[in-house]
Amino acid sequence: MNVPADLKYTSDHEWVRRDGPDVVAVGITDHAQAALGDLVYVELPEVGRRVQAKEACAVVESVKAASDVYAPVPGEVVARNDELSGRPEMVNEDPYGAWLFKLRIDDESVLANLLSPGTYAKDLENAA
């Protein structure tokens, strides 16, 4: 299972990438997209919305099932990837390129709570 080394992760199978000094991009991992199967619908949060950590703020829906996506850290939604509404399958094709939304974070310390690639990969192995 693909777990890029330059990202951080959550136990709910989201990945987090730094996108500037105070912005992070968020998506779902390869494990998550494989478990869901072909995505057919993506619902993204409104720009301007403030979210708490672990707050459900997006939905990814495959032919099989719908799944909530949770904010990995607290922050304000500053961008959403509207390209996905026409082509939700991009998340399956390129899970680490197809970001869902971006958050402006208040300070860096919140990132310390996220999982390192090694820890996430090990959690996947243990769960398998």
Binding site: A34, G37, V40, V59, E61, V63, A66, S85, N92
Partner: protein
């Protein structure tokens, strides 16, 4: 532990994501259920359906017994090979299963029932036969595997792989089957399916299954899993037992009135109950109009005549939209706009007459 079919190793070798389906270890998909769906509508795909149960009913009283046991009328089967889709009802008129029966000879009918209900069905048939036709032989053919090859190219591919099948089925009509010999073994090939496309269902000795699968795969027939099977059958407007109907509902409220033959003077199990039933609900098709999600089983449907409920829903790849079957008040007409509660939203959908897609094309938009 779910049971393997004779093709378990082949599924795993091909990278299947496996699931427990009614106690069977089955392939959900082999990478993309949407691609598999398109392969069936555009070319040819194949499904391992060995989890279904083939039941041979043999004896002098076979025909008379089946006239009584099932809701559709086997007297319609005049020519050997012809098949019939029917419900199996209980005495209260509830649906025990849906099935296909093939007329082979006056003393030999082949019945194919669903996997999850097979044990129940066979026990029920044997119970009925003990009273009505004690000499009848009801045999579960667990020595057989079944593969469904479906799509516009399906028959051509089957013929290319198996010339002996070609010779015997060149002029086999839709909804007919024939017993034949292939490589000195007995096969049954039926021009039936569950996808809305043309094709064959091949019932072969279990020890032949791998060879048949490999031969078809080698000439480009795509393995397809249960995920594609469900989107294909729903687009084709075909019911799924356990979701669209079960023992608690009447065939008249399940879109299956056409399978219950009341025209002949024929006593059959459930007849009296059906005659007494005035259906208050119908099984209708829904096409989702608003963006906001996917129609799914158990979602509430709000209509001008009262609430209903979706029984089966999915995203339909051939349409590029979400569709459903829903049990609605009887009076809601085709064309009405209804609202489905999806998460925290009310999404508009249009009532349509199934099928939604067949023979490679969308039929509704």
């Amino acid at each position: 532990m779910p049971r393997p079919t004779p093709l378990n190793a082949a599924h795993r070798a091909f990278g299947a994501r496996m699931v427990d389906f009614g106690g069977w270890d089955m392939p959900l998909h082999y990478g993309s259920q949407i691609d598999e769906h398109h392969a069936v509508r555009r070319e040819a795909g194949m499904f391992d359906v060995s989890h279904m149960r083939v039941v041979d009913v043999r004896g002098a009283q076979a025909r008379e017994f089946l006239r009584y046991a099932i809701a559709n009328n086997v007297d319609k089967l005049r020519d050997p090979g012809k098949a019939l889709y029917s419900c199996l009802l209980d005495r209260d008129g509830g649906v025990l299963d849906d099935l296909i029966v093939y007329y082979l000879r006056d003393d030999f009918y082949r019945v194919v029932v669903n996997a999850a209900t097979a044990d129940k069905d066979v026990a029920w048939l044997r119970q009925l036969a003990a009273a009505r036709a004690p000499g009848l032989d009801i045999e579960e053919r667990t020595d057989l595997a079944m593969l469904a090859v479906q799509g516009p190219q399906a028959r051509a591919k089957a013929w290319e792989a198996f010339p002996e099948v070609h010779a015997a089925t060149q002029s086999l009509k839709p909804f007919n089957g024939v017993m034949l010999t292939c490589a000195e073994r007995e096969w049954f090939v039926a021009r039936t399916g569950y996808t809305g496309e043309d094709g064959f269902e091949l019932m072969v000795p279990a020890d032949e299954a791998q060879r048949v699968w490999s031969a078809l795969s080698a000439i480009g027939v795509r393995p397809c899993g249960l995920g594609a099977r469900d989107t294909l059958r729903l687009e084709a407007g075909l019911n799924l037992y356990g979701q669209d109907m079960d023992e608690r509902v009447s065939p008249l409220e399940s879109g299956l009135a056409w399978t219950v033959d009341l025209t002949a003077d024929r006593d059959f199990v459930g007849r009296d109950a059906v005659l007494k039933t005035k259906p208050l609900r119908q099984l209708a098709g829904l096409l989702l109009l608003d963006a906001g999600g996917v129609l799914r089983a158990h979602q509430r449907v709000e209509t001008t005549a009262g609430d209903g409920e979706i029984t089966s829903g999915t995203f339909a790849p051939t349409l590029g939209k979400s569709i459903a079957l829903a049990r609605l008040p009887e009076s809601v007409p085709v064309g009405d706009i209804v609202h489905v509660v999806v998460r925290d939203k009310r999404l508009a959908a249009r009532v349509v007459k199934p099928p939604f897609a067949r023979n490679g094309r969308a039929l509704v938009s």
